[in-house]
Amino acid sequence: MKVTLRFFARFRELLGTDIIVEPHDGTRLADLVAEVAQKNTDGYAAIFDEQGAFREFVILMRNKKRVETAEAGTITVTDGDEIAVFPPVAGG
């Protein structure tokens, strides 16, 4: 199966975007994002905290629908999924 990971803004700078991965059946959403993010230490640290949990401000979308990051550890990805990960910005 193929899943596309799209990172935005600062996450894109660190990790690139439109990354196509071929996870095995039953791969959890959180594990997939972590695995891809691990290719860049700063990228991983921007998205995950020291305990490996999503940082609380990170927005996660699956096929344009919001996924609570707390639930991403129990959701499995399916073929054709498009996962978007982005950080809200705060400046004005």
Binding site: F8, A9, R10, E56, F57, I59, K64, P88, V89, G92
Partner: protein
């Protein structure tokens, strides 16, 4: 009624939405929270569009390091209150409208009075705690909340319509960490101008608002994206969670 002078001044936009649209702008009052990077372009474009009354609030003094982006203020304004500088520029841009510039910090205690009878709130703040306050007051008063935020070359914007769209706390339940954010002036230029466009569209009833949609601008890649937004049924501000403990950083 529009004066002859007004019909001439706004001639090129009356072509878009007619005298009726222009009169709607003239009879409207918009509240702009912040006279910085986003507040500058938003206020300038709303002033020149002929929004009849603009209230802009800021508690800061113009600093040299503001000038790369806060285009309401110029080199000779360094050290002046931003409200003093803002009101002078906006009056020069359009002497036919009412400008109120209030030098204060927006708090949970004063926000309702500050917003008053305004027809909409433009979010030109640089922090989420005050954004959450503005969001809550917009919901209470049932007026639109035009959200914008930026960092570096990146920006985001959405238009929040009470009871119709997700509120700011549905979309961003947790604030990103505080920081001295990097920024190039053109980025708040893009986002503040989108906010002003949304206000004009809302007031003149034109087009499709950015309602229930989050616009994401990536100036570095020169791409924009849009994310469909959904209400959080358990939202502590607009959903069933109202009245429960607010998220961290959210001021009641």
């Amino acid at each position: 009624m529009l004066s002859e002078r007004e019909r001439e001044r706004y001639k090129r936009q009356i072509l878009l939405f007619g005298n009726e649209g222009q009169e709607r702008l003239k009879s409207s009052h918009i509240f702009i929270a912040g006279a910085g990077g986003l507040g500058s372009p938003a206020a300038i474009y709303l002033a020149v569009a002929g929004v009849g009354e603009i209230t802009i609030v800021d508690m800061d003094t113009v600093d040299q390091s503001n000038l790369n982006r806060q285009i309401l203020h110029t080199d000779r304004d360094i050290g002046k209150k931003k409200t003093v500088s803002a009101i002078a520029k906006l009056r020069e841009y359009n002497p036919d409208i009412i400008i109120n510039a209030i030098d204060t910090t927006i708090t949970a205690d004063n926000i309702r009075g500050l917003v008053g009878q305004a027809d909409g709130i433009v979010d030109a703040m640089d922090n989420y705690p005050v954004r959450y306050l503005l969001n809550r007051v917009a919901l209470e008063k049932k007026i639109p909340f035009f959200h914008g935020a930026i960092r570096g070359f990146y920006g985001q914007a959405t238009t929040i319509l009470p009871e119709k769209t997700p509120c700011l706390a549905c979309i961003f339940p947790r604030a990103p960490p505080k920081e001295v954010f990097p920024v190039v002036g053109a980025t708040p230029g893009v986002i503040g101008t989108i906010q002003a466009t949304e206000v004009v569209k809302y007031l003149t009833k034109q087009g499709e608002l950015l309602a229930g949609r989050l616009f994401l601008w990536d100036g570095l890649a020169a791409t924009s994206e849009e994310i469909a937004l959904e209400k959080n049924p358990a939202c502590p501000v607009c959903g069933s969670g109202a009245g429960t403990e607010p998220p961290a950083g959210m001021i009641r």
